[in-house]
Structure formats: C-alpha cells, structure tokens
Amino acid sequence: MRTAFINQLIEEASSNNNIFLLVGDLGFSVVEPFAEKFPDRFLNVGIAEQNMAGIAAGLAMEGYCVYIYSIGNFPTLRCMEQIRYDICYHNLNVKIVAVGGGYAYGALGPSHHATEELGMLRTIPNLVVCAPADPYEAKAITTFTACYNGPCYIRLGKAGEPEVHKHTSDESKQIVKGTILSIAETGNTTAVFSTGSMLKYVVDFIERNNIASSVYSFPFIKPIDNTMLLNLFIKYKSIITIEEHQASGGFGSAILELLYEFANQGLLAQNQFPKMRRIAINDQFYSVAGSQEYLRSVAGLELKMEYFD
C-alpha cells in the first residue's frame, strides 16, 4: 500500500506544483523517488513529529498541499494537539499519512500497534479520516486527498498487500468523499462491513467457507455516505463490522452511532433495525510479539461461521 501511495503521490505532484512531502526520518527505500524528482518539495524534518505537524501547518498556510509521513502512532498520537489545533482548527490543507495501521508492525510491540488513532482522530472537526483496504483504494484515496482542500488522515497498511478490488475501472469503484464500496453482494441477510486492510481477510474467509454474505469496504470512517449506509441498514437483517482498532470510538462505533442517528431521525423503523455485531479489539494492550496475523487472532479479530447462521 505504501508503494501504491508514493507512486500515486508522485503522479499527483507532477501535475500539482503545490504538493509537498515531509517525512519524520522514515520512508527509507520508499520515498526516495519523490525526493529525487521534487527536491524542492521534500524535506526530512528528522525524528520530530510535533515539529513536522507544525511545519506542515505553516507550509499549508502559504498555499502548499502538505503530506506528512511517518509510521504507526508517530504522525498521529505523538502530535495530536498540533493536528487538532494547528491543522484542523485552521482547516488547513494537510494530509497525515501513517504506514503500519493496526498490527502491521506486530513484533515491534505496543509502541508500534496503531490501534487507537481512528477513535481519537474521528472526534476532531474538519478532519476526513480514511483507511484504504488495498493498493487500489490506497491509490484512489491518494488522488482524492490531493484534490480535496482540507485536512485528511490516511491509515495505510504496510507493503506487499494484494489487490482485493476487481474491475476497478467500473463507475461503482470510483471514490468520492464518504464512498462505501461493494465487494460482494452474495447474500440478502448478512453483510460484513470492513475498513482498512481487514478486507482481504474477510473476503478470503467468505470465499473459503462458501458463505452467502455480502461484503462492503469502507475507505472512509469519516464521513460515511449516509444515503448508502441507510439503504444497507434497511437491506440487511444482520451486519458485522470488523476493524483493526479498539472497539471504543472506532469504525464499528461510528456505524452504530449512525444507526441510532437514523432511527432518531425517523429514517429507520424499529423493525428494520439490523442485528449488529462488532469485531474490534476489546480494550486491551497486547504485549506479545507476533506477525500481524498472529496478533489479529490473539486480539480476537476473527470471523466465525456461527456469525452467519
């Protein structure tokens, strides 16, 4: 995903002279092509994320569209107040990019488990929060953020994820603000809502077990297309949300909030309420080493056959 991101950013920067990339002493063997092509619009600020976020705000005030890049919690939690106050309150054109969402850096331990940031960032006004699922979504989200004038967060996976989306030139695969993407519509009762790189796992599980369930990918956690979401609530009797994030404040949380919001607005009757199941991390740190797959399983981020009965 990070390769898809950087290649697309180079593409965007070729036609948009305002795109600037700041890195926090990270991106070795990833960002060099950008730095070589646009030396005047690249800077390694060093291991100093708060400084990086502040500098991005300043550059954006002077007209640049600034991407800041680091891993895990460093470009988010470490500089949360700069993001909230400098970038989002001033509504600046800054894009925060984190590589290694969730347990992508599993063996590196809790410092590198990025499992709370969606909840924290989702509460900040003006900020668009994105979590692409595969290289296709990463590329499309990069283009979206480059064209969008305002603050965005992009949670990327790591490297080497396979492409999940097929027929990506179809109109239904276009990404605009809040888009929900249909991956499979094989069942009328149950749907799985997935965000970020859990999607590959979900699709494999459904296919391997021959389950009649629909699957939707949510590249946006904020905002989410309300009309489309309401239709999905009405269509399915049972919905499972899955994310590589703490349960509280995350993606499933956002979906539940909207469900009750729609009901309060009278858009959804009591008997249309789908049964909801949220798969997310259960308010715990995991201080064991392991691959992403291993940690997902330790944290219970797994589907079970019985969820589809």
């Binding site: 002493d25 291991i47 331990g109 201080s287 080493a289």
Partner: protein
C-alpha cells in the same frame, strides 16, 4: 576488570547477533553500537540484582532507544535476570520479548519504542529519588537521532533547574539515524556546548573504550556537584562486525545465513 567487561561485550554482541538473525529482526546496528556501554554498566557500575530485579535501592537504567533492545535483552539474559532459553523466541509469535524493550521483562524499567520518551520518565524517577532522599542513581541511554525530539530538550532544560545531580544521561552518538547521517538531517553539533549551555556537567568519551567508560561512570556516580551529568559516547553503528559498521543498511537488514556465520567468526576471533 576491563578485560572482563570486554569479554562480556563480545558475548553480548554474539548473542545479539543470534537473536536478530533467528527472528529476522531489524535494528542490529544500534544494538551493537551500545554493546560496550551496556557491558561496562552491567559489569559492576549499576547496582542491580538479577535475583531481585525490583528491589528498591537498585540503580535505575532506562533504555530510551527501545528499538535496540536485542543487546539489552542479551545483557540481562547473560547476567541471569531470566533464563537464557526464554530468549529463543525473541520477536516471534507469542514471545514476551518484543523487538522493543518491554517492561514485562525482569530488569527492564520501561517499555520504549516511540523515541523521546524515556528521558522525561528518568527525570521523574530521579526527582522521586531526591524527594525521598534515596541514594540510587538513574541512568538513561538515548540515541543521537532521538535528540531530534523536542521532548528530550524539555527535560534537558528542566533537569538542571531541579538539580537532578542523580541523573546520568548517556548519548549513543553513532552518527546515523533512520534516513542517513545525523549531521545531514538535524546536525546536533556543537552538542557538548549545548549541554553545557543548559548547565549540565558534560563528558565526551570513546563509547567503545571500556576504561574510559568505566572511569566516567564512576566519576558521575561519585560526583558531588549539583548538576545532572551527560556523557556523549562517540560510537560506531554496527560496531564489532566490520561489514555492518557505519552503514545505514544495518538499521534495517537482518543477516543472511552466510553473513551470520561470517559475523560470528569475526566476534569469536576476540574470545
């Protein structure tokens, strides 16, 4: 004394190499650059007890550059803080030995993996010791790249104000960070002058010379002046394994089987 810690450092390096090789882990360069510092600290400088890692009067050692944990785990294992066999699973599925320091491991004071966290914590610990009139010392080891972080400088400004004379900061100045040379990214020079301007008592030494390390640590522990102490230890990233020395690549790479045996051979030469 010095010969003893030199052999200890060699053993630390050999075990570090094995851990990183088996786990296909990263960050061996920074683990090797601080191996001599750890060897001298744990060979008679730090007042610690492997049988009672939490006893109250111990000296505190905080590793801030947690990514270099492999050589600290090796040091503690060789010292008997835990069974060496436990290290076998280092950084693999289910192991408590993460590839950053973990405070769940006996002998490790703080978890660290996000740079720029441990010095403020060390200040808090040193302040607690002062308020409680305890005699133990607090040591904190940071990397050079890590000094880019503002959090460190907040502590560097405050520690002399609080007269934290019981705080000993060691800088592993190996001249390389994640994206290149320190001097090309955020040049720290003149580093000693910065510490002195901030009213620290500053020492500048060869971080691979065991007698210099030993004498400086003793001086810092025994010093009667009221300033916090900073030891700028000039080191070489990847020290001890010639093909890893001074190379950015070995911040990331894990040795191949052939490289592993070559490296081990080089270390065994000095047995």
């Amino acid at each position: 004394m010095v010969n003893h810690s030199i052999e200890f450092a060699r053993q630390i390096r050999a075990l570090t190499l094995k851990l990183v090789y088996n786990a296909k882990a990263s960050h061996i360069g920074g683990a090797l650059s601080m191996a001599d510092i750890l060897a001298v600290l744990y060979d008679g400088i730090l007042n610690v007890d492997p049988g009672a890692p939490d006893y109250v009067e111990r000296d505190r050692f905080l590793l801030s550059k947690g990514h270099a944990c492999s050589s600290l785990y090796a040091t503690l294992g060789l010292k008997g803080f835990f069974d060496l066999n436990e290290l076998d699973g280092y950084a693999t599925n289910g192991s408590l030995f993460l590839s950053h320091t973990s405070h769940k491991i006996p002998g490790i004071e703080v978890s660290a993996g996000s740079l720029g966290h441990a010095l403020p914590i060390a200040c808090g610990i040193a302040l607690a010791a002062k308020r409680k009139k305890e005699q133990w010392k607090t040591f904190c080891l940071v990397s050079d790249g890590e000094l880019n972080e503002g959090s460190n400088w907040e502590s560097i400004l405050l520690a002399p104000q609080l007269k934290l004379d019981n705080l000993i900061l060691i800088i592993d100045y190996n001249k390389i960070q994640s994206f290149g040379f320190v001097k090309d990214i955020v040049d720290l020079e003149p580093l000693r002058a910065k510490f002195e301007a901030c009213r620290w008592n500053c020492f500048e030494i060869d971080g691979h010379n065991h007698s210099e390390l030993h004498d400086t640590f003793v001086k810092c522990k025994e010093s009667a002046d009221s300033a916090p102490k900073a030891i700028i230890a000039h080191t070489t990233k990847g020290k001890g394994i010639s093909f890893m020395e001074d190379s950015l690549l070995w911040h990331y790479k894990s040795p191949s089987e052939e490289q592993y045996h070559m490296a081990l051979q080089e270390l065994n030469q000095y047995k």
